[in-house]
Symmetry: C2
Subunit: 152 residues, 2 copies
DNA sequence: GAAAAGTAGTTGCGAACGCAACTAAATGGT
DNA sequence: ACCATTTAGTTGCGTTCGCAACTACTTTTC
């Protein structure tokens, strides 16, 4: 993939910047996670699961902002790799609880280490206080938009 | 187990927030652009073209952060809709210049109007000065990461 | 000025994804 | 109890996309 490029004429648009930064983040992640044979969605999914409790598909779908069908397929793929296992949820015959296998937990921890280093490097261009400000603004934007899209 | 900065389960992580905000932005765009039968990439592409001069596929690829093959396919689709037209670039036998048709220019302007209104609403949860700060931080992050990914 | 290296764009292929329609189980109203 | 509605998850299908391999043209090198 080509290294992302920025058109200087338009680069100050928040909409465009969000897009470009996201694409860059995604690209950097893919490079790292490729070492572990994981897609970004698979990696994010593994990190949402508490191995002791497990998690339902619907919950995963909400947290990952992916369709339920996509979660089903991701779980199947991770299952075939031996990283997750699905258990019946006793309290609800329709539901299933996805848990990590020993192998899954181990891989997740390894990937987390490398990912943390890479992420640290990529965010190192912002100071701690800048990062804090960014988080605050994004959080505000996120909540505002969530409300807006709901009402609409 | 607590990796201080990188635990993705942390809701306030800038990485996670970037993802969530991006998904929301993208979703909002799809809703608006659907009225015009355009995908977000198609819409962004139309907006990069100067109807008087045209633009090469490679340039479009760089500016849109999409692969050249994807640009080829997008151009084909837009061509079939009668929104763009490809001309030979006299100065280079390999290249072609993509230009807007009258119809494409008209549609772009209409879509721009509605998109601007929607975007305004979605960003209205931030004050002007907050937006400015956000732009500054994202811009810094974007440039830093671009440099980081290049060296890699 | 011929061979090598680089660049513009295309095509084949498979991966990730959303949506709509579906099954099966749970819930709620009457 | 019974039927309607909701909810958990799956499947079929079409779309967007990146990558690798390719053609055709251009630039560089010797």
């Amino acid at each position: 993939m080509a290294i992302p490029y920025t058109d200087l004429r338009e680069r100050k648009h928040p909409y465009r910047l969000m897009h470009d930064v996201y694409v860059q983040l995604d690209y950097g992640d893919r490079v790292v996670l490729n070492h572990y044979g994981l897609t970004t969605t698979q990696y994010r999914l593994l990190n949402l699961i508490d191995p002791a409790k497990g998690l339902r598909l619907t919950k995963l779908s909400e947290r990952l902002l992916r369709s339920k069908s996509q979660i089903t397929r991701t779980i199947v793929a991770l299952g075939q790799m031996g990283l997750v296992r699905s258990l019946h949820d006793g309290s609800d015959g329709r539901a299933q609880l996805v848990t990590l296998t020993r192998k899954g937990e181990k891989l997740r921890n390894q990937a987390n280490k490398e990912h943390a280093i890479s992420l640290q490097a990529r965010f190192s261009f912002l100071t701690t206080s800048e990062r804090k400000t960014l988080v605050g603004l994004l959080d505000k934007l996120q909540h505002g938009m969530a409300k807006y899209l709901e009402v609409e």
